[in-house]
């Protein structure tokens, strides 16, 4: 049976995993390669590495970080942050990423989705959408770019459909309303996007407990769910989390 995926996300700056609460209080949470392996060994189904470094110097560090992290990682590995061209994507693929996640650059130039897909396959292109509900809630949820700082005027569900048509392999949907709050995913928004597209939808933003994962898989119809901060500092690991989600009736890959 196809299982729902639990994805561990590492936010990386200057080659180190960092953790912030509402974009402030950034603290060092460790070495990306070491943490990625620990997550994979603990049962995470995939690893996502998001580069939050905006500087040019940071890019070189990123490629090195991707190479070191990928070296002995044998689960799917996605890299996002600052990928603006097919050449940027190629560099992270060559360093060992299996998929790239593109966000602001896909809004700026939607052709990029197809350009990366034509060389590396649609399965290698994740379009990340940062979303905030509008005055009428989910129906007019809006796409934000530049790390959530700039509204685009684009409707979330419509953009997800366009991304699919342009050849995205998956959608990574982050709710800015729930992100960092640890009060649960935005299930209603996730469901709206999941029902609008055929490709898998990864829910992100708001994970605080195993019950939140079970909710977003069942009510939100998410195919996968991603969390960062709850995995850091040994708060919980994927093994315990997945066992709880499975007990709630969701198909999970559990160690034999």
């Amino acid at each position: 049976m196809l299982t729902k995926r639990v994805i561990a996300c590492l936010d990386v700056r200057g080659g180190r995993v960092v953790k912030g609460i509402q974009f402030v209080d950034i603290v060092d949470a460790g070495d990306p390669a070491e943490l990625a392996h620990r997550h994979a060994a603990a049962g995470a189904d995939e690893i996502v590495l998001l580069d939050i470094t905006a500087t040019h110097e940071g890019r070189g560090t990123l490629i090195d970080t991707v190479r070191r992290t990928a070296e002995k990682l044998f689960v799917p590995f996605t890299v996002g942050g600052g990928i603006r061209s097919a050449e940027d994507a190629e560099a992270v693929f060559t360093a060992g990423a299996d998929k790239v996640s593109i966000n602001s650059s896909a809004i700026a130039r939607p052709e990029l989705i197809g350009e990366i897909g034509s060389s590396f396959g649609a399965q290698a292109v994740i379009v990340a959408i940062d979303a905030r509900r509008g005055p009428n809630g989910v129906s007019d949820a809006e796409v934000y770019v530049s790390g959530g700082r700039k509204p685009t005027g684009r409707n979330v569900v419509e953009w997800a459909r366009e991304a699919e048509q342009r050849g995205a392999g998956e959608i990574l949907l982050t709710s800015m309303d729930t992100d960092g709050m640890r009060n649960g995913f935005d299930c209603e928004l996730t469901r709206a996007v999941s029902e609008a597209v055929q490709i898998p939808v990864i829910a992100s933003g708001g994970a605080g407990s195993a019950a939140h994962f079970a909710e977003v898989f069942k009510l939100g119809k998410a195919d996968a769910a991603l969390a960062a901060s709850i995995f850091h500092f040994g708060v919980t690991d994927s093994r315990a989390l997945k066992a709880e989600v499975a007990a709630a009736g969701v198909a999970m890959r559990l160690p034999c």
């Binding site: 196809l2 994979a40 044998f74």
Partner: protein, 211 residues
Amino acid sequence: MVVYGGGNVIAVIDYKAGNLTSVVKALRFLGADDVVVTQSHEDVLKADKIVLPGVGHFQATQLLEDLRLTQATREAVAKGTPFLGICVGLQWLYEGSTEAPGTAGLGHFAGQCERFPAVYEGEELKSPHVGWNSLEEVRADSRLLRGVKPGSFVYYTHSWRAPVSADTAASTLYGGAFTGAVERGNVMGVQFHPEKSAETGLKVLNNFLEL
């Protein structure tokens, strides 16, 4: 460190379909220190083992014919060289795929690859099939899947699939059963990505290296 028997030159065929980094990395991790990424039919004929990875469109396999790699594969396989196709590499072992009706596969296994149905048993079926799914009906005599227990999870990402036949070594259920692994003699294929399937995937690759 060489952890397998037999010869040790592994030809990984590059037909410009996706990213070979992960496959090569996994083979080297398992101790294969003579991995040649190649488009040369001579390399394929000389190799002790052949791996055909690939993600993307079935159409891309047309390049194999154009580079005379189809003929080289036929000859190598006929003299007993172990062959492993991964993902589209498995699909190519069949007669063809509805994804690219004009492009013939190797035809080593009977049947056509077809797209997942949009609806299965009255329910909408999402496609592509992405994620970890379990191997069922694992054939006891499979050399490729030696030590792999039924119910083991592997990572898939694909929209077309090969039918189940007598050569199927393990099946997976998604919109009905399809071939997760196929094996007859020295010719083998996996629809899943062993290089991304954690311990189970590494076991499969190691079994292949040990042939």
